[in-house]
């Protein structure tokens, strides 16, 4: 992360519809995770819990979040799917966006996913359901309303940093 505020997004921007398309797929998958996790009782050992369908599916979704966060949203499979399948059928974008906000949001999703997976393995009941539900709400709000949770979290972090700076 840099502190460079210079707007240089126009030449390198992404189609703003691409992250929302990805969020729609993610939301559908997460709803599936919640449904599947509710269907199965919590396994007795970490090994049992690691082979539950809900766990495996959520691990895949979390890995996809990680892909977006670490490789960037432009190299994400949903981004490629959008570019090859949907983009040619749509009108050109009215504007382009910086890929940094959706990349950061993927990082937030990855963190939520990872904590859910770890707590589930540790044997906490409903850890998967709660984590997947939170991630679902964020992805759904992003896909349907264009709400950006990552932006809020980024601001809260900046506020906390500012408070520390003022105290020092």
């Amino acid at each position: 992360m840099t502190n460079d505020p210079s707007p240089r997004l126009l030449e390198a921007g992404i189609d703003p519809r691409s992250p929302r398309f990805g969020a729609a797929i993610t939301a559908a998958l997460l709803l599936l995770v919640v449904g599947v996790s509710l269907t199965y009782a919590l396994g007795v050992s970490p090994a049992r819990r690691a082979i539950e369908p809900g766990f495996i599916l959520f691990a895949i979704v979390t890995a996809l979040f990680g892909w977006g966060a670490f490789a960037g949203v432009r190299r994400h499979p949903y981004g490629l799917l959008f570019t090859t399948l949907l983009r040619p059928r749509l009108s050109p974008p009215t504007h382009r966006e910086d890929p940094k906000p959706p990349t950061f949001a993927q990082g937030v999703g990855f963190a939520i996913g990872l904590s859910g997976l770890v707590l589930h393995l540790a044997g906490l009941p409903y850890a998967l359901v709660v984590a997947a539900s939170l991630a679902f709400i964020a992805a759904f709000l992003n896909a349907v309303f264009g709400f950006c949770l990552g932006c809020h979290i980024y601001l809260l972090r900046a506020r906390a940093r500012g408070a520390r700076g003022a105290a020092a």
Partner: protein, 142 residues
Amino acid sequence: MNFILVTVTLLGLTALATAVGVVWRRSQGRVRVAHTETALSAQDLGVTAWGAGVTLLQFSTEFCSPCRMTHSVLDELARQRDGVTHVDIDLGLRPELARRFGIMQTPTTLILDGGGVVRSRIGGAARRDVVSSELDRLLVVA
């Protein structure tokens, strides 16, 4: 858990997310009239001087797409109208300002009169027509 209970849970989750989204969207771009008398110091915020008529003081962060859209809306309004200045501050660089002004979302836009007094506040993406009528109101009074 049985099938019906799972289905109800999933529908409930979707309904909850929809409700949150509707409430959030309705709050976006709304103008709130401020009731303060204290003038902000331009130098304090790293600005040479406030606009003669109105200053659109926008707070943004790097990881925020609506900030970019608001930036171009406000920038264009400032260029079209006399006495209107647009200032965009990156909270990543001035995090203490987020606390000082109680900013919980970006973009947040404060509308200042010629004396640097906050007259209104817009949370979320600013709409051209809303800001425009707010400018009409403040510029007439001024």
